[in-house]
């Protein structure tokens, strides 16, 4: 017998034992790769999309540089459009394969941002919506956050290498841009610190209130 037919949706007809083994193995491997890789793809979209969105907004922060407080506008220094587009194409492949029309519609809403933030902003918004809808349908939150922290950890490791190797030795650092972006993210997150200190100090009021509220909710 010769020739194998491939039906949409993934089922197939094996014509020989050897062909079954090969195609079955490849299909199995590609499916498990997709299972493992998809949350990581969403994590990459989220991280890169967030960075590009911040770049599009250009928020101001106040870092201490050489003991002086400066006013700096957030700037990535590079354009992430190409990697975001590649990730979006991969995501579209998933959406088409799984026939997720609602996800496609939701993601297209990100294009509404274009008149206000331009191509960078709208692509970032589309990427973040794609990641959110992918998570909604896929529901692999732990793997997603593992990917997020792995990416951020790698980013921090590069910044650390700048500060502990290049800076004390007075060498010209190829990682200075990474360190600068990392500093920007720190000082942007620092806006939340005065808010976080309040629950830290007033937890003795908040905790009984939360327990009372949650207890009421359960009843």
């Amino acid at each position: 017998m010769h020739g194998a037919s491939w039906r949409p949706g993934g089922s197939y007809l094996c014509l020989s034992f050897y062909e079954c083994l090969v195609w079955g193995g490849l299909r199995g491997r590609s499916e498990s790769l997709a299972e493992v890789g998809f949350p990581f793809l969403l994590a990459l979209q989220s991280v890169l999309g967030s960075l590009q969105l911040l770049d599009a907004f250009g928020p101001v922060y106040y870092p201490m540089v050489h003991r002086a407080t400066r006013t700096v506008r957030f700037d990535l220094g590079i354009n992430l459009l190409a990697p975001l587009l590649v990730l979006l194409v991969l995501w579209l492949g998933w959406a088409v394969w799984e026939s997720r029309l609602r996800a496609l519609f939701l993601v297209s809403l990100g294009l509404l941002v274009y008149p206000f933030l331009g191509i960078e902003g709208s692509l970032s918004a589309v990427s973040l919506l794609a990641a959110a809808s992918g998570l909604w349908f896929h529901r692999r939150l732990e793997e997603f956050f593992t990917g997020v922290f792995a990416l951020l950890g790698g980013f921090e490791a590069l910044a650390l290498f700048h500060w502990v190797f290049f800076v004390p030795l007075g060498l010209s650092s190829p990682l200075e841009g990474v360190a600068w972006v990392e500093m920007g993210l720190f000082y942007l997150a620092a806006y939340l610190a005065p808010l976080l200190v309040l629950p830290l100090l007033f937890m003795w009021i908040l905790k009984p209130l939360l327990r009372w509220g949650l207890g009421k909710g359960k009843r």
């Binding site: 003991r67 593992t146 922290f149 951020l152 490791a157 720190f186 620092a190 005065p194 830290l200």
Partner: protein, 374 residues
């Protein structure tokens, strides 16, 4: 003979090493080619040392400098000069080589005695090493405050140990270290002493209701009495700045409530170069405080500490706000949060990458802050 190092032990050693490196890093030739002093108060300390004529080996001058509020730090500087044979500026410049690791080790000891958990203690050491107590301490050169934190942590650690083990030796050590605290930083001894008094009252009420033994209450009363008597001796006999005069400086820095938000933003965003705003550390501390109980004496103590701090925080000006926060054992609360998170049922890869991210983020914060002190 092989020595096995546990993972918490390795984290402790790493944290202490970071403390020592933190004292030297801002003086690396590429960062600070002129070897300038990095802290705001460094020259004040050098001036105090010169004015006290400690160089002429008159150690009693330590009780006259700075209104006699902090003799212990000047004796430490004097001792450091004696051991290293250095001048006043060099001694003050490199004193953090002792103070940073001391504070980190003391925080480890406190957490171990308070919770009996090696991982909580090791994380406390790490979060102290990479937290704002080192960075703000180096920025402002809060040498006295850092020494006071070390003494407070050690003193409390021995107190908790004596209560758990009925050990008089630990109680004696707690009292001696508490007395040293009074002679180091009266503001901090007020903050920690007031907390101890309120904790005794609550502990006594609980014991009365349960009809239990008052042994712990008696020990803690002895402890607070030793602090009170030493403060009286400092004020009356040595004419030093004690608890009452320290409290008056706090009251004179009361701000109005409408200025709360502006003062907060200034304290976090601008004061100390924004190094107080460690989002991840404070976030973990919030989780730690939420998960803390109110059963053990140590848990009651730390809750009361936050209650008292929270009562003064809204009305203190930007200086008081930042100093109150500086004295909070933030590393301990963050360690409770971190230890709890690592015990929750997440998959191993998630935990590993989360922990790695937190460790790297805070280590970058430490080195970046230190590199920008000059």
């Amino acid at each position: 003979m092989t020595i096995k190092l546990s993972k918490p032990g390795a984290l402790l050693i790493f944290s202490i090493s970071l403390g020592i490196i933190s004292a030297l890093y801002p003086y690396s030739p590429a960062i600070n080619p002129e070897g300038k002093g990095v802290g705001v108060d460094i020259h004040s300390y050098v001036d105090y040392v010169h004015s006290a004529e400690i160089v002429e080996k008159d150690i009693s001058q330590a009780f006259r400098v700075s209104d006699g509020s902090r003799p212990v730090i000047f004796m430490l500087i004097y001792g450091f000069q004696g051991v290293t044979g250095s001048d006043a500026f060099t001694a003050v410049k490199f004193l953090p080589i002792i103070l940073n690791p001391l504070m980190i080790a003391a925080s480890f000891f406190l957490a171990l005695q308070a919770f009996g958990d090696e991982w909580v203690a090791a994380w406390t050491a790490f979060f102290t090493a990479c937290g704002y107590q080192v960075t703000v301490g180096m920025y402002s050169y809060f040498l006295t405050n850092m020494l006071a934190l070390s003494l407070a942590f050690l003193s409390l650690g021995f107190l908790f140990r004596s209560l758990r083990r009925d050990c008089n030796t630990s109680l004696s050590l707690a009292s001696i270290l508490g007395v040293l605290l009074v002679f180091t930083h009266p503001w901090m001894s007020n903050q920690y002493g007031a907390t101890t008094i309120l904790t005794i009252i609550i502990s006594y009420n609980r014991t009365r209701k349960k009809k239990g033994s008052y042994e712990n209450t008696k020990r803690t009363l002895l402890y607070i009495a030793s602090l009170g008597l030493s403060d009286l001796a400092k004020t009356l006999l040595l004419h030093g700045s004690g608890a009452i005069s320290a409290s008056s400086t706090v009251i004179s820095n009361i701000s109005s409530l409408p200025e709360f938000w502006l003062d907060s933003i200034f304290s976090f965003r601008l004061r100390f170069g924004g190094t107080l705003s460690v989002f991840i550390l404070v976030g973990l501390a919030v989780l730690g405080v939420y998960l803390s109980g109110f059963g053990e004496f140590s848990e009651i103590y730390f809750t009361i500490f936050l209650v008292l701090t929270s009562l003064l925080f809204p009305i203190g000006d930007k200086v008081i706000k930042s100093r109150l926060l500086y004295n909070v054992p933030i590393g301990l609360f963050a360690a409770i949060g971190m230890s709890s998170l690592s015990r929750w049922k997440f998959n191993d890869n998630f935990k590993k990458f989360f922990i790695l991210f937190v460790v790297l983020n805070l280590t970058v914060y430490l080195f970046r802050s230190l590199a920008n002190l000059v």
